[in-house]
Symmetry: D3
Subunit: 130 residues, 6 copies
Amino acid sequence: MTIVPILDDAAASPEARAVFDDIRKTRNTDFVNNFWRALAHDPVLLRRTWESVKEVMAPGALDPLVKEMIYVAVSATNNCEYCIRSHTASARAKGMTDEMLMELIAVVGMANETNRLVNGLQVPVDEAFK
Amino acid sequence: MTIVPILDDAAASPEARAVFDDIRKTRNTDFVNNFWRALAHDPVLLRRTWESVKEVMAPGALDPLVKEMIYVAVSATNNCEYCIRSHTASARAKGMTDEMLMELIAVVGMANETNRLVNGLQVPVDEAFK
Amino acid sequence: MTIVPILDDAAASPEARAVFDDIRKTRNTDFVNNFWRALAHDPVLLRRTWESVKEVMAPGALDPLVKEMIYVAVSATNNCEYCIRSHTASARAKGMTDEMLMELIAVVGMANETNRLVNGLQVPVDEAFK
Amino acid sequence: MTIVPILDDAAASPEARAVFDDIRKTRNTDFVNNFWRALAHDPVLLRRTWESVKEVMAPGALDPLVKEMIYVAVSATNNCEYCIRSHTASARAKGMTDEMLMELIAVVGMANETNRLVNGLQVPVDEAFK
Amino acid sequence: MTIVPILDDAAASPEARAVFDDIRKTRNTDFVNNFWRALAHDPVLLRRTWESVKEVMAPGALDPLVKEMIYVAVSATNNCEYCIRSHTASARAKGMTDEMLMELIAVVGMANETNRLVNGLQVPVDEAFK
Amino acid sequence: MTIVPILDDAAASPEARAVFDDIRKTRNTDFVNNFWRALAHDPVLLRRTWESVKEVMAPGALDPLVKEMIYVAVSATNNCEYCIRSHTASARAKGMTDEMLMELIAVVGMANETNRLVNGLQVPVDEAFK
């Protein structure tokens, strides 16, 4: 159970359904996943989040696959299961292989380790990095 | 001040100096940054960390620039200033432009936001993602 | 399964049962939730935690509903499912509507995002804020 | 130093300056703080973040002071100094007293503690909360 | 600057000064560190926190040095500079050597790494651990 | 389901099986837990992680039980269920009693609380701790 019910199309408001429709059209699929159906309780939040994600994850100076892998890296650091699973699926759909995934996770692990070695010893930033 | 002193070459043990030398040779520079000089108090930890970082960050299924950007993404999520500054510098040395950096940070921000929208509403994982 | 068994009244020590009784009396209910029944393995920890929560969450300069919403905000940031569910229930019992919940979660999401935009760019604190 | 320079009005692009102007108008002040001046390197990110913050923090089912206190609670949990200082200043401008601040911080501390008591013992969610 | 001023003895309330006195007596020193002087703005919070810390950190099934090292481990994970420095000082006063510190930090780093390897791959808990 | 399948011995590569064999020999058991079987998709990551854990958790200036408890403390702070359960099991196998566990969790809770009291008030580090 979620904290608020997952809204199917019939239960969603017209404003929320309009966002669902844009999700379907943009992604070229009928499937609207639970994240959007939970946000639908607040159509303003739903619209803002969808428009923001669409804008942030679009091709730009970074390609969409790199962006999806960064999304997975943050989600693994924060241990958000939903986000890890959904963005891993997206990354795979954009070409991420198992080998790439394992290297991604290895970097995430190493960064989380050295972040704490630095914290624990309170290493001062070198002048060269300022 | 660090929790332990930063060791210059004269103060480091022969085992630690040998790692410093490999850092210099691998990176083709005389500069050994404070992170390694703090770890030098425990030459076994220093060697293991250096060998691990060298292995993880080497070219593989992911290119080194993507790996550096993932490192920055994790470090920004955890707010490790030292790691953000040193790995941003490395990413720039490998070709990251300001435009790429801004997009990277935008993805990190968005992932941290949606991770908490998911948490707060305890959104169940869709069958399609399992 | 928990790491330690959940203690029912019969299994709890007299010191733990005395805390259970105070919880029942203070909340005017027979229900003692699992959190307290797990802590009951250490009656000193149980008592201290209960007395602290009672003191912190009491009406003061902030009203109890605001305090419950702050509790939810922290728990969503840390992704503690138990705490999100139990304090959302408490907040609802104190008058939080679905609309208020959605706005609360939206603020939590936004704060987690901008916290990382600030980290990633290492924005210096303005003199005006010092 | 930030990872990217703080842009004054002269250095900012016309798109960024237009956002600065809206910030000034909305807040009825000449002051544009460093956060926005760092984001100005990416005018799209700047605009989206500003529009989102404006929308999220506006009066709604929750009053703006409660929203600012939730922002502080998240920022204290994540240890984002910039965000703690700027949103504490905003909360004070909206009426938060020292007494309210101390109670807010007390709740944040308690929530962070019990989140980990729950984690450490892996307390199962009571049926009553599902 | 803190968010609230650090209170010296003259500025503190009688209730806060009474806690300062107990800190001095318990620790057998005249020194009262800034943490307590900041909490002194809320004498109830100050007293509760001090009594809790005294109780938790006292000798028990775990010896006080082990408890201090656990405190450092958590603080390094969360990157709380004040807490790392003050509890490292306490641990050293109780006998922690540099060699012990380096091993402690190495474990903290490794745990933070493997926590994320587990998250990233969503490894299911073995039956043997349930 | 994991993000990648759990590999049994037949599905693992010879390089991975060699690590499984060393795990069995070192721990004097036939049991190889899921963590290693998930990492086995990347034999280099598997070997590095196993060799690192073996080195870090070995007896040294700190005894192995203290190291296991530090591991639990970090994992409870980060809410990694797998790591909490597996390292609690290891700590118990090395002699941790329920009483020790409860004290450990109490310290973890208190440290997470005071870390945020310090953050929220931005308490400056005392000269005595520098």
